[in-house]
Amino acid sequence: MIHLIQIEFQKLFRRGMTYIGFVAIMLIVLVIQTGMLVEGKKLLDFLIKSLSDVFLLNGNLINNYTVSYIVLNSLWIHIPILVAIVAGDMVSGEAGRGTFRLLLTRPVSRVKLLTAKYIAAQVYTAMLVLFLAFMSLVIGRLFFATGDLFVILDTINIFNQSDVLWRFLAAYGYGMISMWVVSGLAFLFSTQATNSLGPIVGSMSVLILFTIISNFSIGIFDVIKPFLFTTYLNGWQLFFADPVDWNQIYSAVAIMALHISVFYGAALLIFTRKDIQS
């Protein structure tokens, strides 16, 4: 099984599109970091201008943590696209290239083959999120000093520097799980298609539709919102609330884990019964 996964990784990293995600994240993060370095103070002054009527404000809020939070906020919409590009190609790419029939002549079960591909896709997703964390927290440190974190949620939350790192690590961990859901969906669509465009566009369409429903404040949608994975995608922000609502986090993680299992189970069911014609 490990050998199968290794083969899948070799195939994965031989394809140019695999690197698109890393390059895109690197460029976007660098652009945001440069922007914040040049104009960040002006932006923050605008945001908290009215506070300065009552308070003397002091301390460096444009620091690596605040910028990393802004990066997370900005990128969480785009990472699913990058994830879907690769996960959507994992199975359908083989079908499109016509290598499946040859591949399945080997003495490997379809379950093992699909599971190896699935694990490769999910590890790639995890690597993408870890790369985002690396770019934000490690490379960002070259541009900015550390300091207290300034977050605007339902309230303005200011966290001591010593209370921040675990929140970021937890947020990236949560983000990884939420991206596994997106990756799982794209992978599921990938098992049904013979070219990679369909699964990528299909999973993005579902993502956009569900996101719209999740953000609409209409009564009829409120009934189905708890069942949509998109409702929980931005749940990483919960780690930056004070106090942290752990119950909400546990239930969100449980629902996302259920989605991951269902998507994987459905992909397995479809692939094992599929009539491979190319």
Partner: protein, 236 residues
């Protein structure tokens, strides 16, 4: 009838002038005594913890150290980001009382004399202030200041057993209804742009400890430095 009315008016005016003439020196002398007492403190430094209680701001209690040197050098030093109320931390109360003003004695209760202070200069940053001066000791227990632009600040001072009349705790209550943070700007879609703070009042409590009064404080302490700490320097 007209004669009676005119006589009554004259009596009332005479009484008012007499009362004003009697109370005015009392108000001024009370302030003079308070200022004289505060002049006994030529310098001090103390640890301070700042607890901000505003319903739309969550910030941990911040600890720092304040330095003061007469007549007007003040410094606050802490690690990380700090929110300090514009009134109450420094010696702004004494500074305010040293500016040209008119003091009017209003009344007294069991604990305090109550005075109104009206600034006599155009550039004063406050419109009117109410002072509660202790009846037994030369110190200010409470002060309500209406600022020209920044709303209302109510400062309450608690005193301990220090040899000088320095507060060991100060609570500043202020108006926050005019504070409007553009919550949506950072992509927080859950927040309604028109959301205002739920309560119109906020408060900050500052508790002082480990006083060192009238000791030597080098002037370098009041200069900006590059340590990365939070520093608020107020020198007039």
């Amino acid at each position: 009838m007209t004669t009676i009315f005119r006589s009554s008016l004259i009596v009332i005016l005479v009484c008012f002038v007499a009362v004003s003439g009697f109370t005015q020196p009392k108000a001024d002398s009370l302030i003079a005594v308070v200022l004289h007492e505060s002049d006994q403190v030529q310098s001090f430094q103390a640890d301070v913890s700042i607890d901000v209680d505003v319903d739309f701001i969550r910030i941990p209690v911040k600890k720092g150290r304040v330095f003061y040197k007469a007549p007007d050098k003040f410094r606050f030093r802490a690690t990380g980001f700090v929110l300090v109320p514009k009134k109450g931390l420094d010696f702004s109360v004494q500074e305010m009382l040293r500016q040209p003003h008119t003091a009017i004695y209003l009344s007294s209760d069991d604990t305090n004399h109550m005075l109104k202070i009206v600034p006599m200069t155009d550039d004063a940053d406050y419109v009117i202030a109410t002072l509660w001066i202790d009846r037994k000791l030369p110190r200010i227990n409470k002060m309500d200041v209406t600022m020209r632009k920044k709303g209302n600040f109510m400062m309450s001072f608690t005193y301990g057993n220090l040899p000088y009349q320095l507060p060991v705790a100060t609570q500043v209550d202020f108006d926050i209804s005019q504070i409007d943070i553009p919550m949506k700007f950072l992509g927080n879609m859950k927040k309604n742009q028109s959301d205002k703070p739920k309560s119109g009042k906020g408060s900050v409590k500052m508790i002082y400890s480990d006083f060192k009064i009238n000791g030597e404080i080098p002037d370098q302490v009041f200069l900006e430095n590059e340590t990365g700490d939070s520093v608020i320097v107020i020198t007039e």
